[in-house]
Symmetry: none
Subunit: 313 residues, 6 copies
């Protein structure tokens, strides 16, 4: 039935394949349609009723489950799984710019919808039925309509000890997987006039701050941070409410929920940091070792890995 | 009727004066009772039915209105006015320690009640019917049952311009009466991910911080601060809610309500500072130029005035 | 000076004692007045300017501090302390029944006020400046204005271990005492899109409105209104929250709490109207039969009574 | 493969077309199935794997993207776009009445689900993944599960000036695109007793009200209004909270957010009005120039356009 | 086109059927794919483009609408309807255990997504676009992303009379369909000190309680109960907030919303009970006639029907 | 003693009267002082220790209770009652304008304070201890510090018809001083479906309940309980919020704050119990061993002590 016959590719008798660029060991299911110009790697499985648009590029060992629709421009990296009936929308009109991209190892569930032009980061997870309207960072798990980040894959969550009611010194905080980062217990003084937490250079702060900033009024579903610094140290204290912080040095990962003005978190340079799950009343104080310098920021995870001499994932 | 006759003192024929230590020009009203040992200065007016306990010391030009009761140990400085039927309680029992004190120029209203052993600061104002259960700082105005601080006398309140909805740079903030202190507009960045305010050394911060502290969960009627530093600079930002700050260099005074993360307040050394009227959700960030040193604090207003070479008031 | 001389009692030369029933070891201060018939136990101290009414009964070892007034009928048991300028009120009128009583060991602070007929339980504590309007149970500590229970004396506090609406037509509203005013049930329509109340001329509104106004953000303890109109009709609807309205035609009076958008209140001319007890969220809509005319307002109650041909009260 | 061959229609060799009623220039994709009786206009594109039920009527220049399912009874007007894998449900059972309808120019996203029997208005937009359970008005943009209105297409939003803190007269409000409608600044009086806004005939109100109604307790996702009046004028004031109002005279459109009791909006007859995005605390007062008359309402947008002598869109 | 031809089954010429286990009277639509090993009962309708995995078992009279995907292991009982483009996910990886199951008479809407391994109870309803991540109990209606219970099918909701403000006795409550259960009006006493509701044995309580429990802090979308007792009586009172209770004796069903401390509900043994739609502040008091005995609980609905001698549904 | 003798006026021998303008039938008490120029009407009673300033005008049948101070300028109309130790302040300084005024029939309580220049309306009531800082309207009843309107005298109120955190076993609780009472730890089970606490006879409950009641909506300053039972046992659990309970067997006392559904309190007969400090959301469940019997209650503490064979305190 298909006009093209490829010796190392299994093409179902009821499939319609119009592109010759399909890698060895791949398989095209019944009623599937691969349009002219599509480029598919080795050991890829295209399910029944699936549709692969021309100009779509698919890596190796990718699974495209039945009924899924992949519209160009779209690049799917290696080892990705795309669930049944999931749709990658194409551009809204003829002149629309952009290109959708799915990073290596990402998993997309069933019946998901991905708006055109988005980037799904490596090892990210899009859950069943999610309607994705914004870029998904590496490792992030997203869910819902519209989709928002509900967690990070491959990231152990560290449970901090509950601060006792009495205002005495907190026990030594736990050690992090990311070895250069450190949790620092801060003194808290409570009297009839309210509560006060503080930190001093040397004792608590490993650097002299040249800059401070305060983050607040963050919608609960928003993510802040998602970058690393080349040289700048940061010290985070969540004065009110709570916020979850993900740390990643390219090898080890941690997630810790800051929910006490008695706990500081020192993030040294060359550690990828993410802040999310802000409570409605969260106020996050950040002290920084340097004044603002745009070129101190590494904003792409792959650049961060490269800067650390690690392979992209 | 009185067993003692003092030539330069007007003693009403129906008064009962048992102390000879009364200054010239003073006047004792009908049915008033001055007990043995009381010491009263010049030009003092003791109203009808008033009672002055032995060992009470009263300065000059003091008015004690009818029916007021002054129980020892109590020291009343010059130029104080004490309202009708107001009571300074004596000690609760025979062994109770302490001494009540009223600073120069203070004004106490009618029917007020002052618990034993309290200190009413110079130029403070206790309003009618107030039930005073704690020390009243200099210049403070207190009211209610129990009394709390509702304002500061002789202190102009500075109205800050309303921050516009758009997140652009604030207009130059107003100049303060206390010439060494300064309001500093801070940049604020608002995007879909929430709000962020920041400050940097040089541009906004006139010193390099060695310490930070965060004040929160302050009951609305409480006062914090009420001290000056000998050498330490402070920089205040009210990240959430609002707080009123009173500044005093011994000559000029200011009150300003901080209610925006876009406004910093630099308090240099040798300026008396008071923080009060915290809103329930207030979070105040303070950056300090020095690590903690107990002897950098001047905690008594009279010591502060002395250190500035100014006469006590 | 006192007509009575008791050998075992110290009576100050300026005291006025008219009762012979005073126990041995007691002491009466200067300008104090003990009325005929008062019965005072042994070792009692009556301070200067104090007043003890006839028929008052005082036990033993009681201290009555200067300026205190004890009005009959009153029974004070043993070992009570009554603070300076504190008043036990007598009955409000000649026929008022009841008797005030202070239980043994109770302590009353300075400048306190105790309404007639109350019972202060044994060992109770009335704090300085408290205005006591209800019985005080045994051991209770009361404070404030009005006084309320803040704790129990002699009672160890045990610390527990820490662990963690058919929107059909309303029935006919009641008839008011102020005969010319009228409550009007308004239709309300509720559907999935929210609630809607309405009124039309003829059916609900007895006049054609020429003006509307909306009242909101009223502090709960504030009063609005307090006037009558000569010619203008008003129609009030409390759309949100609640407000109490007082009506007065000079003879009859009503108070009604409006708390539903389904209830309108027609206030005709020549009815004195008061609005008070606004809930924090109250929104009051007023429709008026005339445009604003300053001389249509009668703002003084006496003028209102005169205008109605009624004597001032 | 298809039993029917139509000269001016491109039918893919793997498509299954069982209806002859397909207009010239149309195109049927691979694995698509058009059932007997379906009627399809000119220049229509039916994507791969799509299913068009018998008795479905499709206008001209319509795009039906791959995998979409259109179940009868359903009428799709001209220039509509229906996204991939989107489903128009059929009736729940054999006897179910009704017909689904999509107005001209509407855009339906990917993976959307539309319950049977709904009407999607002309130029409306259903976003990706939306689950539509109620009619969508003309121009409305809907999103979510269940879907609700998030905006209106082709409607410029007018930013009102921020009301200053001081209670002086507001600057002249901006002019609307809908020329017969008018924004009216209202005086506001604030004193210690709260706030009061008012309006009078002549000065602020261009008509004499015969009826008032108050709208409140509106769920934030609900829409009210969506009609025009033939003769009745309306005057809207949002006393508390905020509400967005869309105006449309058939040629020009406006959206304005009313959020101040100091701003009235006069909507004259023959202007289509929509109210939505009520804040939880919103209270909207409406004064109307006429008593209620059911036949004064135009409740269908196409009737409104016809009444204005304009072509349907 | 299909390799298998079955005399009593209608297989569309464009369908692909690889399993011989299909019951008489069934129908397989165009472009549908039934994999080897699938077992399909009689009178089943498999729509166009549908996909039935090998090892899937389907009962009789089941409708699988076009584009639906049924992945093994999965058992679909008789009389089920599965909507268009709906996906039953397969296991996430090769070693994943479990089996999805859909009970008899269940209805699944369009574009729904069902995570692998879930059980959908008999006669349950999954609404359009629902993303089902947890088991769905018998009769339950679920909706949303993620899906939660919004009601129960075949269950009449009983409207209770509104409790009047005055604290007099409530009118006799309505009679329930489940004849052995009973609503009981409780007296309520309100005074200045708050509100009090009570019940007594004989008058209100039909048994002597041996155990009580209190349910609170229930997330609004959670369901509690879902069981029957063999011998234990229960008496429910919702002291604060509201909760909906579903009763089922295997023949008749009731749903009643308890929202008043004045209404008790007696649930006798051998009645299936469900509690859901707790308001955030709901506090439910339950009195039980017996102490806790694990074997008194019937936790599976089919066991309950069997114990009552009724056929499974 | 007084320099002026007026034939129709009773002047106490210890009074000091310096004004001749006193009406017939009036009476001046001991130690009272009427200054030159005061004008007093007929049948006026000036109490002991009272002070009437010169230029004060008092009407007829006025009562000025002992210790009251009336400072000029002040006009007191007929039939006014002014309570003991109440003070009308004079002007704050020599140039202050204004005049205080008390309308006919007004009643001022004891120890009240009235700021200078205010008008107290006819028949108004100023309650004991009130600190009046604003005009008081006719008929208004004011109370508090500062005083506010709490009602209107002579005004019937019309009642409108109703319109529409590890959940393991707790450690053994502490032993109480009141030996017969007992705290009982209750198990609590928390899962994703919310929280559940329970108690059983024998294990937790020392009696079989015949009655239950639930207390809620208690104003925070109110006290419930304050009684003992002759025969009835009670078991208290605070399901939501918190409440403090005081226990007293006539010899020993305890106070315990119940704030967890995991803690029950058994109060046996013949223990005096008090409940106070209810949090706004408190829900207290009480199980009782007997049905209601009015004569089982001992409502007076002295009766309770007598019933226990103990002397009154």
């Amino acid at each position: 039935m298909s006009p093209i016959d490829l010796p190392d590719v299994f093409i179902h008798s009821h499939a319609l394949v119009e592109s010759p660029f399909i890698g060895a060991g791949s398989r095209i299911g019944a009623f599937a349609h691969v349009l002219p110009g599509a480029r598919i790697g080795q050991d890829v499985d295209i399910g029944d009723h699936a549709l692969v648009d021309g100009q779509v590029q698919i890596g190796q060992r990718v699974q495209v489950r039945p009924g899924a629709q992949l519209w160009a421009p779209l690049v799917v990296e290696d080892d990705v799984r795309i669930g049944p009936n999931t749709v990658f929308s194409g551009p809204a009109g003829p002149g629309a710019a952009g290109c959708s991209k799915v990073g290596a190892g990402a998993v997309i569930g069933a019946n998901a919808t991905l708006r055109f032009g988005l980037s799904i980061g490596p090892r990210a997870q899009v859950q069943d039925g999610a309607v994705v309207t914004r870029d998904v960072p590496p490792h992030a798990i997203v869910s819902g309509n519209p989709a928002h980040i509900v967690g990070y894959a491959d990231t152990p969550h560290l449970d901090l000890p509950v601060a006792p009611r009495a205002a005495s010194q907190l026990a030594a905080p736990p050690v992090l997987n990311v070895a250069t980062a450190r949790l620092v217990a801060l003194p808290k003084i409570v009297d009839l006039r309210g509560a006060l937490s503080f930190g001093e250079i040397g004792t608590h702060l490993p650097f002299t701050p040249q800059r401070f900033f305060m983050v607040y009024d963050v919608p609960s579903k928003e993510v802040r941070g998602e970058h690393a610094h080349k040289a700048c140290h940061q010290f985070l204290v969540c004065v009110k409410g709570s916020v979850s912080v993900v740390l990643d040095d390219g090898r080890a990962r941690d997630e810790v929920t800051l929910d006490s003005a008695r706990m500081g978190l020192h993030i040294p340079p060359m550690v990828w940091g993410i802040q999310y799950q802000f409570s409605p009343d969260a106020v996050l104080l950040v002290l920084a070792s340097d004044t603002y310098a745009a070129d101190d920021y590494i904003r792409k995870y792959e650049d961060f890995l490269a800067a650390r001499g690690l392979p992209g994932r």
